[in-house]
């Protein structure tokens, strides 16, 4: 019996000791702290090497590019005033007066030159696609970028977070050191960062937008569980939540304590065919399946109306969307049956659809496709794989068909087409191996055609070809639904889902 007591002493000490560790550092009362819940942690601030949202939206708080798009997706001058030469070859940027980094140091043309050149050198997942001849720092505040060939998307492309401005030579620090405590022109600086947990930002005292940001501290709180996210929002433990599930949107919208912000986005839920597959190399099979899926009903059932049924591979929120002009394979079982008859497999066949496991919406979409397949004699089995294995397989074109999503990184149609039409590009037509010379020619033409009706015509034809050939079936464009506490005002979102906190205040 005596042993029990001995054992209790270290146990009690441990409990007390550990409890002590958890104590919060007190904060001065008049400092305003805004807590934003997110479903993934921030693992890196290296803007030239990142693409995923968990990092991109954090990088957006710290670094800013020369030009930027607003809530409506319109790109405008941001850190500099620009002029573009008539022939579309020479871009001149004059930095705004008094622009400073968050450490107080002036932003110079050399910093801009270094930033873009580092990006060109690194390449990375969001490379600069324009064919750049030179980047010159003409004086302290003027940068001249010369292209070898006109490239209409270039201006929009510069709005990518990966074209943010960093100090020249990273202020002499190593990459590791610099990106552990990144210095940029953005509204916030990193105060405390746990790559497997939360990030706390503190406001940039040198921020160029007068009187902004209003809040002093911004916390990205990592909460993965959906229920936990909703309940913390309801209890007021967090001030806003990134991306709440559609199923919970209504209860957040209906509550007196909270409201939702839903924003039309640049995202597409999409089914991809492996066109090397014996069955799906047959265009009639692809067309048949597209005709057999009721995309309107799918969108309504899965998004609770927070979405738009897709009629093109280009999201409806982007310019040059032609879904209303082109002819689309809308739900029609009779026509689907006819297409199957035209195919090499009139009696149907067995195949699989790959999805990443643990993704509830994808699983629902896949089940709808399975039912649609049944109606035209295609027997589909769902192959739910762990995400890394799933990616590895589809990149090796080791799949029959799969469901995934695509998103425009910057507000230009080319952002989508470069990824989904170019068979020689990095993504091999989003790993479908779809090859259409006609489509590629139109994609190239679209890059050099100046904005206007002509470019519209080019992209309309391109969208029509894709709608006829069906290398992928765009399902719907989901909106993004964010939950916000009733006492919060001024939170806005860019169409790629990136939150802007500069005007956030508490009522």
């Amino acid at each position: 019996m005596r042993a029990k007591k001995y054992w209790l002493i270290p146990a009690a000490a441990l409990v007390l000791g550990l409890a002590g560790c958890g104590a919060d550092t007190p904060e001065t009362e008049d400092e305003v702290r805004f807590v934003y819940a997110r479903k993934a942690s921030v693992t890196s601030f290296d803007l030239h090497n990142e693409i995923t949202e968990n990092n991109a939206f954090a990088i957006d708080q710290v670094f800013e590019p020369l030009v930027m798009f607003d809530e409506d997706g319109v790109v405008t001058d941001y850190l500099a005033d620009s002029t573009i030469s008539e022939d579309g070859l020479v871009y001149t940027f004059v930095l705004h007066d008094g622009l400073k980094f968050s450490n107080g140091q002036d932003v110079t043309a050399e910093d801009v030159k270094y930033s873009l050149e580092r990006h060109l050198e690194v390449g990375g997942p969001l490379p600069i696609e324009a064919d750049i001849q030179s980047i010159e720092a003409v004086d302290d505040r003027t940068v001249v970028i010369t292209l070898n060939a006109a490239y209409t998307p270039f201006y929009s492309e510069l709005a990518n977070f990966s074209n943010g401005i960093v100090p020249k030579d990273l202020n002499g620090l190593s990459e590791e050191e610099f990106f552990a405590h990144p210095v940029g022109t953005g509204p916030f600086m990193v105060e405390e960062w746990d790559p497997s947990g939360d990030v706390t930002f503190v406001k940039n005292p040198y921020y160029w937008q007068e009187g902004k940001p209003v809040i002093d501290h911004l916390v990205f709180r990592y909460i993965e569980d959906d229920n936990q996210l909703i309940n913390q929002l309801k209890a007021g433990d967090v001030d806003a939540a990134d991306e709440i599930s559609f199923a919970n949107a209504k209860s957040i919208a209906d509550s007196e304590d909270t409201y939702v912000i839903a924003s039309e986005g640049w995202e597409i839920e999409e089914l991809f065919f492996n066109t090397l597959d014996e069955h799906f190399s047959d265009v009639h099979v692809r067309r048949a399946l597209a005709l057999a899926i009721n995309r309107e009903e799918m969108m309504q059932a899965l998004t609770f109306g927070y979405g738009v049924t897709a009629r093109s591979v280009l999201p409806s929120a982007l310019r040059y969307y032609a879904g209303d002009e082109i002819e689309v394979l809308d739900y029609d079982l009779d026509r689907a049956a006819e297409e199957m008859k035209l195919s090499a497999y009139p009696d149907g066949f067995q195949t699989t659809i790959s999805i990443a496991s643990g993704n509830y919406v994808r699983s629902q979409e896949a089940q709808i496709v399975v039912e649609a397949g049944k109606k035209i004699g295609i027997d589909i089995t769902i192959n739910a794989q762990e995400i890394a294995a799933f990616r590895q397989d589809f990149k090796n074109l080791n799949y029959d068909m799969m469901i995934n999503s695509a998103i425009a990184d910057y507000p230009d149609a080319n952002s989508i087409f470069a990824f989904q039409v170019d068979p020689n590009g990095f993504s091999q037509c989003y790993w479908t191996n779809y090859k259409s010379e006609e489509a590629v020619a139109l994609m190239d033409l679209g890059r050099t055609t100046p904005d206007g009706d002509e470019r519209h015509a080019v992209y309309s034809s391109l969208q029509q070809i894709l709608a006829d050939d069906v290398p992928y079936i765009p399902f719907y464009y989901p909106e993004r639904v964010h939950g916000v506490r009733a006492n919060v005002a001024g939170l806005v979102y860019r169409p790629n889902g990136s939150p802007v906190f500069t005007s956030v205040t508490f009522k």
Partner: protein, 271 residues
């Protein structure tokens, strides 16, 4: 006295289990709805006359799915227990009977498995095999035998040390005969009692795997996946997750009563 009182427990348990099995086997035949049939215009309907337990997000009838899932889960529950039960009882009896080095090695194996983080095994197996039934079989074969082995070992060792075993040996009975005729009949009841609890454990594990996104793959109806999928809608469409949840809890109750009842019955009978 105790045994007599608990016999109603056994009876209740068996009746409840019988009812559940009956529903799972005959239910889908009698009940008209196809568990796979979707109706995207009738999603998330609350329980009503048309759909007694409502519909899910794809407009499928929950009752039809719960009934059909009973077949999937109950058969999986029984089939996935065969390997761990057999392996566990065998290894446990071997350790208990032979003692010495055999015992040392088997106990070491048990200790290793206990020291190995449970979820590491579960997740790795699921990642390697992909979500689905195969993963559940392998995972449970790897972790399930421990409990049986410990019970069988303890029981065998205590029987081994009793005098009648030596007497039987002196009479010229072979080890195998003693094990099969005398030890096994004593070990099995104990193991079966454990089996009853463990089957509930297996059901709960399937539910957990569903929560982690590595459970039985869609569209096969399964209680675990249904519960996990519905849990984000607990406040808006409770029936998706609560109805299959009740099925799991009821099965757990039935198994628990049967286990208790059997334990009392056998305790009364002999040892």
């Amino acid at each position: 006295m105790n045994g007599k009182k608990m016999k109603p427990a056994l009876k209740t348990g068996l009746c409840l289990m019988g009812l559940i099995v009956l529903l799972a086997v005959l239910g889908p035949l009698v009940y008209g709805y196809d568990p796979y049939a979707q109706d995207l215009t009738a999603v998330l309907l609350p329980p009503s006359g048309v759909h007694p337990f409502g519909t899910d997000q794809l407009g499928r009838d929950i009752l039809a799915r719960v009934l059909y899932a009973g077949r999937v889960d109950l058969s999986l529950m029984v089939l996935a227990e065969i390997a761990p039960f057999t392996i566990g009882v065998f290894l446990g009896m071997a350790a208990g009977w032979f003692g010495g080095k055999v015992d040392w090695v088997i106990t070491l194996l048990i200790d290793t498995f206990i020291a190995f983080p449970y979820y590491l095994l579960v997740i790795v197996v699921a990642f390697v095999t992909g979500a689905g039934i195969r993963g559940i079989f392998i995972t449970f074969m790897l972790v399930g035998w421990l409990l049986y082995a410990r019970v069988a070992k303890g029981m065998t060792a205590s029987l081994r040390s009793q005098e009648w075993v030596d007497a039987a040996r002196l009479q010229g009975f072979s080890d195998l005969r003693i094990i099969v005729r005398e030890i096994l009949p004593n070990v099995l009841p104990q193991a079966v009692v454990v089996l009853m609890t463990d089957m509930t454990g297996l059901l709960v594990m399937i539910v957990m795997l569903g929560y982690l996104g590595i459970g039985i793959s869609a569209p096969t109806p399964d209680w675990g996946t249904m519960i996990a999928e519905g849990q984000t809608m607990m406040t808006s469409a409770w029936w998706i997750s609560v109805i299959p949840g009740i099925a799991v809890v009821l099965t757990g109750i039935a198994l628990s009563f049967i286990g208790d009842g059997l334990a009392d019955l056998w305790r009364e009978d002999g040892f």
